[in-house]
């Protein structure tokens, strides 16, 4: 059986991303390990408190020789334009979550709106990644 364990988002600054996802979005740090023998590569993941087994890697964009400077710049540019990553978060109450996150300074690009599939809202993380916050409607039948 296959299940999802970890998915990745590029971020342009891991400290800033960590602060955002923990203090503002309310996630928990799952792992934060810096490996000296890998050129201080930092494996940084966060999870929702209710889902300790599913994590998001907040991945810094590497330099050479892992990634050549031109590619790194392309990734940075794509990320800043908002085309590098998306996560769909779910909540039982989109309006309440929206107010809670706004109270912690998260800037929303879309306020909660009724959609055929439920209520959803959207914000961006500091790197420009598109994060949706969906309260799914129960599908009957």
């Amino acid at each position: 059986m296959i299940r999802i364990g970890t998915a990745q988002l590029w971020v342009h600054d891991q400290d800033e991303a960590l602060e955002f996802y923990t203090k503002q979005v309310g996630m928990e740090v799952r792992s934060d390990v810096t490996v000296a023998e890998l050129g201080n590569f930092r494996w940084l993941t966060v999870s929702a408190a209710t889902q300790p087994d599913i994590a998001v890697v907040l991945m810094a964009i590497p330099g050479p020789p892992v990634m050549d400077a031109e590619t790194a710049q392309q990734v940075r540019t794509l990320m800043a334009k908002g085309f590098a990553g998306t996560i769909f978060l779910e909540t039982d109450d989109c309006q309440a979550a929206y107010e809670e996150l706004r109270g912690r300074g998260v800037e929303f690009a879309e306020a909660p709106e009724e959609r055929p599939y439920g209520v959803d809202a959207a914000f961006r993380d500091p790197s420009g990644n598109n994060i949706r916050l969906v309260e799914p409607r129960e599908i009957t039948g």
Binding site: R76, T77, A80, P116, D120, A122, G128
Partner: protein, 144 residues
Amino acid sequence: MVFISRPRDLLRAKDLADAQYSEPLRVDDLARAAGFSRAHFSREFRRAFGEAPHSYLLTRRLERAAALLRNTDRSVAEICFSVGLQSVGSFTTSFTRAYGMSPTAYRAAMPPAADHALIPACVLRAYGRPRSRTFREDRGPAHP
């Protein structure tokens, strides 16, 4: 590096267009959100996203209008105002140019809303937005 923050600032302006298209938002407001002068902003926005900001904003509004035509029974005028446009005449003209038929004909031609039910809003917004069209046919055929 300036390279990082500039597209991010432009994205802020694009997000503003996405979030507040229903307000009487203008390109000046978008330029302000990005922290650029208007002329510089238009040039940089086009470089980053491949079209001028006024055209992005208009097609964003047209996409919403098309969704409202498909999903609601509100009148054409009401839909025009609710997507931030102020003239029904120019709305009809822009809509017809973008979708190849008038708002009324578009509504009649579309299947009911439930067919689109489970596609996330951001997908509808991005994929449903029409290409911007000019009257001048200087860019080749409308449907390549």
